[in-house]
């Protein structure tokens, strides 16, 4: 439920991303402007715009059928948009496909490797595809694949297949990595291992687009998240910024060591409401709520015990922004 408390940037991020569509800036690794893609009568992606900064992990979060996969398939040049403009490190995916695939590593859904090849053979093969490839041994070590190098691909567990897939996405030393639903179907431990891995990749200065329908994944990994729904971008912000947009904001619940005047807290800009629930006090507000409440109480010589912090998360944000739950099925929409 509760978010990690890296909040400093949220206000700035909120004001930056509050317009109808982000303004692509110079130095953006990926720019998507007014992207539209239809499959026969179905509109998969309708006027989507966003911009990904160099070095950031950009999440695309939304329910099935929201247009996430279609969007990234257009970004890596596998599908041609009906309308709109895409630039990846300055390249047009439709025109500069070959150059694009040199600098973009992809981990896609519905893609596989030959089951009759061994892990080491597959890595060696994909390594040969790139003139500026990463060091094979280092990739194998950092992804824990070295001891599996003689295992056949078909014998690998889901987690290992996914790990190999991520290794192949990174083996060409890409500037941009596109990871689509990389933890779908993995057990919780394998998911957490994969997350750790992505955090290591972040340190390599790779710009990452992470497609997911898991909000905890987006909250943990992404610098910014675009919420997709029914082929449109609903909002783009930091995970915390998105959560802050939800009216409820945060709630701090505690037992004060002694009586105090409500005015002490209601006067604070972060606080919107103070309620009493038996011996408990419940303060609703936003921003650095817990810190300012504790500080204000301390000044009055009151300590807060049994402190409990609730905050809205991405799921709440999604519900607030779309009126639907993240895992609700969208019917009548093509999803690949």
């Amino acid at each position: 439920m509760s978010l990690s408390l890296r909040r400093g940037l949220s206000a700035a991020a909120e004001s930056q991303a509050s317009g109808p569509g982000p303004v692509p800036k110079a130095g953006a690794a990926i720019e998507v402007r007014h992207l539209r893609k239809t499959y026969r009568a179905t509109v998969a992606v309708d006027d989507i715009s966003f911009s990904v900064r160099e070095g950031e992990i950009f999440g695309i979060l939304g329910p099935n059928g929201a247009g996430k996969t279609t969007t990234v398939e257009c970004v890596i040049g596998l599908r041609s948009p009906d309308r709109g403009d895409i630039r990846v490190m300055g390249l047009d995916p439709q025109v500069d496909r070959e150059e694009l695939h040199v600098i973009v590593g992809a981990q896609l859904q519905a893609s596989a490797l030959p089951g009759q090849l061994k892990v080491g053979e597959i890595l060696d093969l994909y390594h040969s595809f790139y003139a500026g490839a990463a060091d094979l041994g280092e990739i194998m070590d950092s992804l824990g694949l070295a001891e599996k190098r003689n295992a056949y691909y078909r014998s690998l567990s889901g987690g290992l297949k996914q790990r190999l897939s991520i290794a192949l996405a990174l083996i060409g030393n890409p500037k941009v990595a596109v990871l689509d639903e990389m933890t779908t179907g993995l057990d919780p431990q394998a998911r957490r291992d994969t997350w750790q891995l992505i955090e290591q990749v972040r340190d390599r200065d790779v710009t990452i687009i992470l497609v997911t329908h898991y909000m905890d994944e987006a909250e943990r990994l992404c610098d910014r998240v675009a919420l997709f729904d029914r082929g449109k971008v609903v909002a783009i912000d930091t995970p915390e910024g998105l959560a802050d947009r939800v009216g409820v904001g945060k709630r701090v619940r505690f037992v004060p060591s002694g009586p105090f005047e409500d005015r002490l807290l209601t006067g604070l800009p972060e606080v919107s409401r103070v309620e009493h629930d038996g011996e408990h006090v419940v303060v609703t507000g936003s921003g650095e709520l817990a810190n300012v409440v504790i500080l204000a109480l301390a000044k009055a010589g009151v300590t807060a015990t049994g402190l409990h912090l609730d905050s809205a998360n991405l799921e709440d944000a999604f519900v607030a922004l779309t009126g639907r739950h993240l895992h609700e099925q969208v019917t009548g929409r093509v999803h690949r």
Partner: protein, 259 residues
């Protein structure tokens, strides 16, 4: 050029294709559809034929050829047909169905390289089958060299082109590996019939033989047998094979989907 052009390394390294070919060879060895159906099966038929006496006696009703001389082109045709219609499309359709082609199409390597590698491997298997059949035939059945060698080689080349083009077309229209194998067999068995596997051309009713002459494998056997006897293959047989190669090659390119 773009701002980031300087970041680009040179294009795909040349060694990538040979690595790809190595990988595909390993797969062909570890999942030996082509090896079993395209090489082992015709050789097995050859061995079985050895059990029957009189295979290497020349017969008047066979135009002075031995039974083995008649069956040698048929065995070659079986090998080429099976490699083209079963091995090639099954591999390619599997690759597409499983997303292996999709995966490779996000790398700097063109997925068409995978096609080329598969064609080369099946071509190599055809050469291996031809080699084994020739050596075994020469040693075990007193098979002589084709009396019209250029005609024989031309007929062989066109037969491979026609059957591989058909196979590529099958892999283009089949959505799944199962469908590819099904469609491949649907074409394979009538083809083998017209090639004379069960009733050799020499003893086929004339009407049937006329039909066979218009099928790619019937034309192939006609051209190969003619060369064995020392007569340059009939123009019609060569044109029939060439036509199948061109038409189905075009259709394959036109309708092939990477995913």
């Amino acid at each position: 050029m773009s701002t980031y052009a300087w970041l680009l390394p040179a294009r795909t390294p040349r060694s990538a294709f040979s690595k790809l070919l190595q990988g595909e060879t390993k797969i062909a060895w570890r999942m030996p559809i082509g090896l079993i159906t395209g090489v082992a099966a015709p050789v097995l038929v050859l061995i079985i034929m050895g059990i029957f006496p009189g295979m290497s006696k020349s017969e008047a009703k066979l135009g002075g050829l031995t039974w083995f001389g008649v069956y040698f082109p048929i065995l070659i045709a079986i090998s080429v047909a099976v490699l083209g219609l079963i091995s090639l499309p099954t591999h390619l359709a599997t690759y597409r169905q499983q997303g292996i082609l999709r995966r490779i199409s996000t790398t700097p390597v063109p997925p068409a390289w995978m096609l080329s590698a598969q064609v080369l491997i099946n071509l190599a298997l055809a050469v291996i089958a031809l080699g084994i059949l020739t050596v075994a035939g020469t040693i075990g059945y007193g098979l002589g060299a084709p009396r019209q060698l250029p005609g024989f080689l031309l007929a062989l080349l066109l037969a491979i082109a026609a059957m591989f083009a058909l196979g590529l077309w099958v892999s283009a229209i089949a959505r799944t590996a199962a469908a590819a194998s099904g469609i491949g067999q649907l074409i394979l068995f009538p083809s083998l019939f017209f090639a004379g596997l069960w009733i050799p051309r020499e003893v086929m009713p004339a009407a049937l033989r006329d039909i066979a002459d218009w099928t790619p494998l019937g034309a192939a056997v006609q051209a190969l047998q003619s060369s064995m006897k020392g007569v340059f293959p009939p123009t019609q047989s060569l044109l029939v094979m060439a036509a199948y190669a061109v038409v189905f090659g075009f259709l394959a390119v036109r309708y092939f989907r990477w995913e």
